[in-house]
């Protein structure tokens, strides 16, 4: 058995090496390319607990990375790659080999750690690997597919802790994904068929093994001799099975629509969706039927769109009817201003039976002003969303304002500054929750001056009212060009987090990263 395994692995290894060698072109052919090899050390000085921080995915120690790999072979194939922290547990690797209009192969691998509590020994680690490929044996034909797997293991902590005791949940599962499809496309005429599936193995809960399958076919094409009319449609069958009991959720969806391009840049649209979903544990299915209409008109420097959508959701016992409208427009004004705005509203009524939440009204509107002059831009935006369930006295209001400016100067460098404030108010008959948030972020990066480049940036976050959280991060960067191909990088990242309602939840970190970078260039013969 061992001998057979050795022979099999040797054969596969030889085959892999042979194929890899076949990728290397003969020395007489010219190639061009570049890449950066980065070797460095990350130093972490932390106090407190970082369960709310993204730094829980940082590790102290040496780090090796190969970044911005771009390699072009003389026969038109390209190799790209970004391989960050190859030597560490938070590695993030992406590679791609492709030849335009012929084939492509994408490979990625990522490891990510997450903390759930103030105990740094309680964490989960997620490891994800994906391979996708595509090939075009003909200009109008493309087939594609891929495989992927995610392994997650460790210990998570439940959000709320009964009896004030830490409730630890072991996590150990594998999630495998695969898909394959065929796409035919010729100048706007498209036919696509696809199969997609997954398997979920939960080693912590054997009864939780699940699998999914999805079959889909879609098409889009202009009507022959009436090219201004474009039709589209599709069908999908989806099934999710809980292996233990054979419990199955399935759905069948069909959709279609048409677009008509009239003269004077007017476009009309109609689409429908019909979906029937059912859980095998229950005898009734739920139908979701949607019809939507839209009209848009484009001017030289402006555009306007309006639409109406009608949705029926029916599971025999209960029927919901929703009707919504939207209106949006944009305009370029003067010599650099762009104005945009949109409004949407939807009302959902319980026509038959009853639901827990009753009728619902949703209203949303947004507006923005952008200004751009050469390499300077500024913007101001506003968004608001209101949802009301009047039958149960529940209401949520969310508003957000965003302001910012950015500038790029070839001599001095680039600057980005932005500020966003958001308020939320969630009310019901029992309790209220309100918050107001402020986020200020800025980043200034200078151009190189006497081989030096400096950067400073940071983010300030404050959340108030029923939440009292403050978070600051400051980032300083120094790059020094030793020679044309060698560079020294230094980064200081200071962080502070305080949950003022929970004195035990605080975090301070000083993170220093020092790298030496070597730029490689392939010379063209």
């Amino acid at each position: 058995m061992n001998t057979q395994r050795i022979i099999k692995r040797s054969a596969l290894g030889i085959l892999n090496v042979t194929l890899l060698v076949s990728l290397i072109p003969p020395p007489s052919k010219a190639t061009t390319g570049e890449a950066e090899l980065k070797l460095g050390y990350i130093y972490l000085d932390e106090t407190g607990f970082n369960k709310q921080q993204q730094s829980f995915n940082l590790y102290e120690g040496p780090a090796l990375s190969l970044e911005n790999l771009r390699y072009s072979f003389s026969n038109g194939a390209n190799l790209t790659g970004d391989f960050k922290n190859l030597t560490m547990n938070n590695r993030h690797l992406k590679g791609r080999l492709y030849k335009s209009n012929q084939f492509g192969l994408n490979v990625s691998h990522n490891k990510y750690r997450r903390l759930y509590s103030n105990n740094p020994d309680r964490f989960t680690r997620r490891e994800t690997s994906d391979v996708t490929f595509w090939a075009k044996p003909h200009r109008y034909l493309k087939f594609y597919g891929g495989l992927g797997q995610t392994d997650k293991s460790g210990e998570a902590v439940e959000l709320f802790e009964p009896g004030k005791a830490l409730n630890i949940t072991p996590v150990d599962y594998q999630h495998q994904r695969y898909h394959i499809g065929l796409l035919a496309n010729e100048r706007g005429r498209t036919v696509q068929v696809e199969f997609r599936g997954s398997m979920f193995d939960n080693n912590s809960e054997a009864a939780d093994q699940r699998s999914t399958e999805r079959y889909r076919a879609i098409t889009m094409f202009p009507v022959p001799r009436y090219e201004e009319v474009v039709l589209n449609g599709g069908f999908q069958h989806f099934k999710n099975t809980l292996d233990r009991d054979g419990l199955e959720f399935s759905s069948n969806s069909a959709w279609g629509g048409a677009r008509v391009y009239f003269k004077n840049s007017i476009t009309a649209r109609y689409s429908f969706v019909f979906d029937r979903a059912q859980n095998s544990n229950e005898l009734i299915a739920t139908d979701n039927i949607t019809h939507s209409f839209g009209l848009s008109k484009r001017f030289t420097k402006a555009g306007i769109s309006a639409g109406y959508r009608k949705t029926v959701r029916d599971d025999i016992d209960t029927e919901l009817d929703a009707a919504g409208v939207y209106l949006s427009g944009w305009a370029k004004v003067g010599s650099g201003f762009t104005l945009k705005g949109d409004f949407g509203s939807e009302t959902t009524d319980v026509e038959q039976g009853s639901t827990l939440t009753g009728d619902k009204d949703l209203t949303r509107y947004r507006g923005s002003v952008n200004y751009r002059f050469r390499d300077v831009s500024a913007y101001a935006k506003f968004a608001s969303r209101n949802i009301e369930n009047t039958d149960i006295g529940s209401q949520s209001d969310y508003r957000r304002g965003t302001f910012g400016v950015s500038a790029i100067d070839s001599v001095y460098g680039q600057l980005d500054v932005s500020y966003v404030t958001a308020t939320g108010d969630y009310q019901n008959t029992e309790s209220n929750f309100e918050f107001i948030e402020h986020v200020i972020s800025g980043d200034l990066l200078s151009s190189y001056y006497h081989q030096f480049q400096l950067g400073i940036g940071g983010v300030y976050y404050k959340s108030d009212r029923d939440v009292d959280v403050e978070s600051i991060s400051l980032r300083l960067r120094v790059n020094y060009e030793l020679t044309k191909d060698w560079r020294l990088e230094g980064v200081f990242d200071g962080r502070n987090y305080d949950d003022l309602q929970n004195p035990n939840s605080y975090y301070t970190a000083n993170i220093i990263e020092i790298n030496i970078v070597k730029k490689f260039r392939a010379k063209e013969d």
Partner: protein
């Protein structure tokens, strides 16, 4: 139809590893064929453009380096039906009188005209969810607002995905700075992890609005013997995951829209039985302490924690409500 025989883990995983390896080898095999030129050439590969690209490069020699590492590299040598003239029509007049007025520059055209030129080779962004629409195009954004035809990253994007999207969607980017958020800052996910532009690369494996979430969070996807209707996209009671969670980031833990009991009370209020002392809120406990199976339960209709008896206080005195006295 199952591509792999599912055999309680080990065999299935072994089969999958072989399949991943086979897929990789297939890709290498395809690559080798590509290098040897065994695939059939594209149509029009032998047709000669009105003005050959080499003439354009006599003046615009800097584009040789820019295009070298891009998918439009074939234009440098008029291969596979692609040349400078494929996008920049008007070249025959331009070489006689080289001005910017007598040649088409797609990036200077309005959005729909840009899309028409690119659509000669590329499918427009009309995924199934858009049902034939491109919302960016409706807002007057053209291909050149995100793509750079002569240079750029994967997909000829003018910068990385997060930087590009946040140049307009600044509010969304800043939501990732909130108290709990998806790890965009770490580079683990980016906008296209959830927002798909092309049908064949859609990440979602589920159904309805929550399909994207289940790609990375399959442990919550169900099906369950007893569903929590609000978490199901198709039900008459809810909209799926975003009924309770902010998708980008939120002011509470686990991206929840509101904390503790407020979220549950938005729909459930306080059930009458829970006002008594020895149950639920009468005992001053958060809803989730008992009803922890919020995404669905295989044990009971009330979503109660299956280990409730052992997790809760083993006796009345440890609850803090009753004491033995001094």
């Amino acid at each position: 139809m199952m591509l792999f025989e599912k055999n309680k883990g080990q065999q299935g995983r072994s089969t999958l590893r072989c399949s991943i390896r086979a897929s990789f080898m297939f890709g290498l095999f395809v690559s080798a064929l590509g290098f040897s030129g065994s695939f059939p050439a594209l149509a029009n590969s032998s047709s000669t453009p009105v003005v050959e690209s080499s003439i354009c490069l006599d003046c615009h020699d800097d584009y040789s380096g820019k295009l070298e590492h891009t998918a439009h590299r074939d234009a440098l040598q008029d291969n596979n039906g692609l040349s400078c003239m494929s996008c920049h029509s008007g070249g025959s007049i331009h070489i006689e009188d080289p001005t910017t007025e007598n040649i088409i520059n797609p990036s200077k055209l309005d959005a729909s005209k840009q899309a028409a030129i690119c659509a000669n080779c590329h499918r427009p962004h009309t995924g199934q969810d858009n049902q034939g629409l491109d919302p960016h195009l409706l807002q007057g954004l053209g291909c050149a607002d995100c793509h750079s035809a002569h240079k750029g990253q994967e997909g000829l994007l003018s910068s990385d995905v997060t930087t590009l999207c946040s140049s307009c969607h600044q509010g969304a980017l800043l939501q990732f700075q909130r108290r709990s958020n998806h790890p965009v800052g770490d580079g683990v996910v980016d906008c296209t992890s959830c927002h798909s532009f092309k049908g064949e690369n859609e990440p979602n494996f589920g159904h309805g609005n929550s399909a994207n979430c289940y790609s990375c969070h399959p442990e919550q996807s169900g099906p369950h013997l007893f569903e929590h209707p609000v978490s199901i996209s198709f039900s008459t009671e809810g909209e799926g995951c975003t009924s309770c969670h902010f998708p980008h980031g939120g002011p509470n833990e686990r991206l929840l829209k509101s904390p503790n009991n407020n979220l549950c009370q938005n729909c459930h209020g306080t059930p009458p039985l829970h006002r008594s002392k020895h149950s639920g809120l009468g005992a001053k406990l958060p809803c989730l302490d008992c009803h922890s199976q919020t995404h669905g339960s295989n044990d009971n209709r009330l979503m109660l924690d299956p280990d409730l008896g052992t997790k809760m206080f083993p006796n009345c005195y440890q609850s803090g409500c009753h004491s033995l006295g001094n």
